[in-house]
Symmetry: D2
Subunit: 259 residues, 4 copies
């Protein structure tokens, strides 16, 4: 790179002049505000195109399915951080986001990646027979490596994760049940057949498959889970302002640790 | 607190059983997915009630108005963090969120708080005369303390921030132009009259006022700005994956610093 | 700023050539490694000069006094974040750092700032009479504003925070008991005399005063508290790897919240 | 776990009573302040034992070798975050820490893990012949998998990273040149012999090997790199307060992106 090459100083996300603001090539005031929903704009920013009405419904369903699960480790981390720095709510949100790693939220990404890599080896529109064959091979490879199947199994929802049948129902209604969602069903079937043990599809897995069918690269899928979770964190922080949980939580553990 | 008091272990955000997931008192699969948009759920989580249709339009308009501004310091921080830890996208998002402090995103909160404190001294439905009087007093107090007026002035949009007239137009159309938005207009007028210098309302200020008119406490308003910005960060990170900016940026400054 | 002005691309912190690394103007391999301790280098990086031997002892005493306090909210936040993202230990440390706001660690900064502002109004080497007078005025100003005295009072150490007499003893031995430390003692005395209630100096307050006497600007003092705390966070994370606390903590609160 | 089992509420890090503070089983005021350096305490917190004098010298040498490298992506992220939230310096430090992922600081961890896994297959005190044999096998495995050798190669120090010979010299002087450091040398030799291309040991690699020889688990080694880097971040933030770099950096990129 020449020292004077500034071509990398470029973004298609947006720009500003004294009289206009442009976001994703659209005029923010005239074309977006009051006309495009926040969720559709989020889709547009990452995908490079607006969703159609059906895609918007499925995308919203994915985001709400990931937004909150009551008390989670990330929620507790955010509340405890707020206790120490209430003047910097961005820190509490960041702390809540930082727990979104491999163990919990990463599952959506892992499932999308797993399905994507299988599909990448197949022809564009695989039929169920091909998917079955590919799923069998992928599962026996995972088994040899001693790895778990991304997107299957849940510590609480041992029979059925209620988000899963609903997502499939919606995707079918909207005619958006694409190859990632279909393959995930087949993976669950083959897994049960070959292991003799039912591991239901989990909510993160179906969310990852639905986002992949909407066209998103698996590398950004964890980001959508974090966007969804940020809304949940706001709800928890607003509740923490009214009915604090962090202080008694800390006091309890502190007392327990000094006995 | 007795050591056995566990009443603080309580949230109204959500809970899970083996067969159900409840979010804000609603069944996630049956009542939310496919029925309630992500934005409306975010509103519900913080406000404790769903928005009506008009409120939803204004709330979406606020969020899209805050979602992205092209190249900002927080965007650069997120991209630079991604360069060092691409396997942990939650860290890049957190780094981007952490710049949302007093200087940029805090303005929405500051404006809402400023307006809220003035309105808190007045009777419930103040008329314009009362608002003028109260604005004059508040501005002369700020002037004595050498402080700037929250919500006024913008380094680039010196005449008019294009988001502002659009937000007022929308709020009026939706019959949601409440006392915070009205007071902000009057503050801008009085400020120009008394100082002889026009400082236009800025986009963060009008967003803060609109959120306050929607019923949100000023303490959580920065959180909505951060939620909105998280969508923008996702867009920038997806772009960074395709066309990296962080590496040449770093190399340029590094080279410049060693000359 | 001209577009071609790159004079801001400058740091005195360090630079690299193919054969050398320079840190703070010294050769890293020849002049620092094996010769200058990490703590002294940290002092040098911020102060622009190396500490002498006595200063080094006091600086180390301050850092160890702030490094850990057993179970704190920030420690819990770090452990909970590690649970979700064990592959990204930087996120757990960041989450632990983010709770270092106004409520806990900010106290060191607040105390230093409070003392600094009082001393800034006095002549360079004030005697005790002047300090008494200035302390009285500052305390009555705080009282009028309904604010607490930075650096006084502790929820657990109601009589004496054990770090405080030890820090004064050390500072006296090392002949480093400067005006900030002296003023803090006088503030505590005057506070007790005028209120009739003993509020002991707390450990964060004495740390802030000692750092200010070492010549550090109050704006960076919270940073040293965070550096010290980072060592404590590493200890807790290493312990969390061996004997996990985050998982049972979460499970307990989760169970309690769904009863 | 029974709901009443609170045995997990336990830490060996520290505890507090109204009159005492205990850190790592020692009295903070009497046994640590003024007697144990911050660096030795950090070692103690993670290792569960204090270092001896020679170990302390090597440990300090590792930390100073990692503390700063002038302008890095993480430094820029911290400075840009400070620009937006100067009132929350913990956020700027966290942002700087978050870039410590796989690409830069993770190398110390990767090298330690790589060496540890090789040594784990060998008898306790392997001789050079065994190390050569094991290194050859490990390198040909890496080559087959198309992976780079952890700890070798540097974009700037193409001949010799100046930290490396210095660390080996120190370790030899201190009689602390253990199997990880020795194996790393042999890995570099074998790599050059078999590939015909010299890839020098890099500073992060030698730091990871030295920490592993000091007895630290590879899982916590990235944490020490982050502790060291936090000192560097403080230096950069103190400099940013005096001579800001973030604002002109942002303005330059922003201007370049809107041309």
């Amino acid at each position: 790179m020449s020292e004077n090459d500034t071509s990398w100083m470029h973004t298609e996300m947006g720009s500003t002049t004294p009289t206009t603001i442009t976001v994703c090539g659209m005029d923010l005031a005239d074309d977006i505000m009051g006309k495009i929903s926040f969720t559709d704009l989020a889709f547009r920013m990452v995908a490079g195109r607006l969703p159609d009405e059906r895609e918007s419904v499925l995308f919203n369903a994915v985001l709400v399915s990931l937004a909150d699960h009551g008390i989670t480790p990330t929620v507790l981390a955010a509340r405890l951080t707020y206790l120490g720095a209430p003047e910097a709510v961005q820190g509490a949100i960041a702390a809540g986001v930082l727990g979104g790693g491999s163990v919990f939220l990463g599952v959506a990404e892992d499932a999308a990646r797993f399905l994507d890599e299988i599909l990448g080896e197949l022809l564009p529109v695989p039929d169920d027979l091909e998917l079955h064959q590919a799923a069998s091979e992928a599962l026996s490879k995972l088994r040899k490596e001693g790895r778990r199947t991304p997107g299957l199994g849940h510590p609480v929802h041992k029979e059925t994760d209620p988000r899963v049948p609903r997502m499939y129902e919606l995707a079918a209604e909207l005619q958006l049940l694409g190859p990632h969602l279909r393959l995930l069903e087949i993976v669950a079937e083959v897994s049960e057949q070959t292991s003799g043990r039912r591991l239901p599809i989990n909510g993160a897995g179906v969310a990852g498959a639905a986002l992949a069918d909407l066209g998103f690269d698996w590398r950004i899928i964890r980001g959508f889970a974090l966007l969804a979770r940020t809304a949940g964190l706001l709800g928890h922080l607003a509740e923490e302002m009214r009915t604090p949980m962090a202080m008694p939580l800390w006091q309890m553990v502190e007392a327990g640790s000094t006995e």
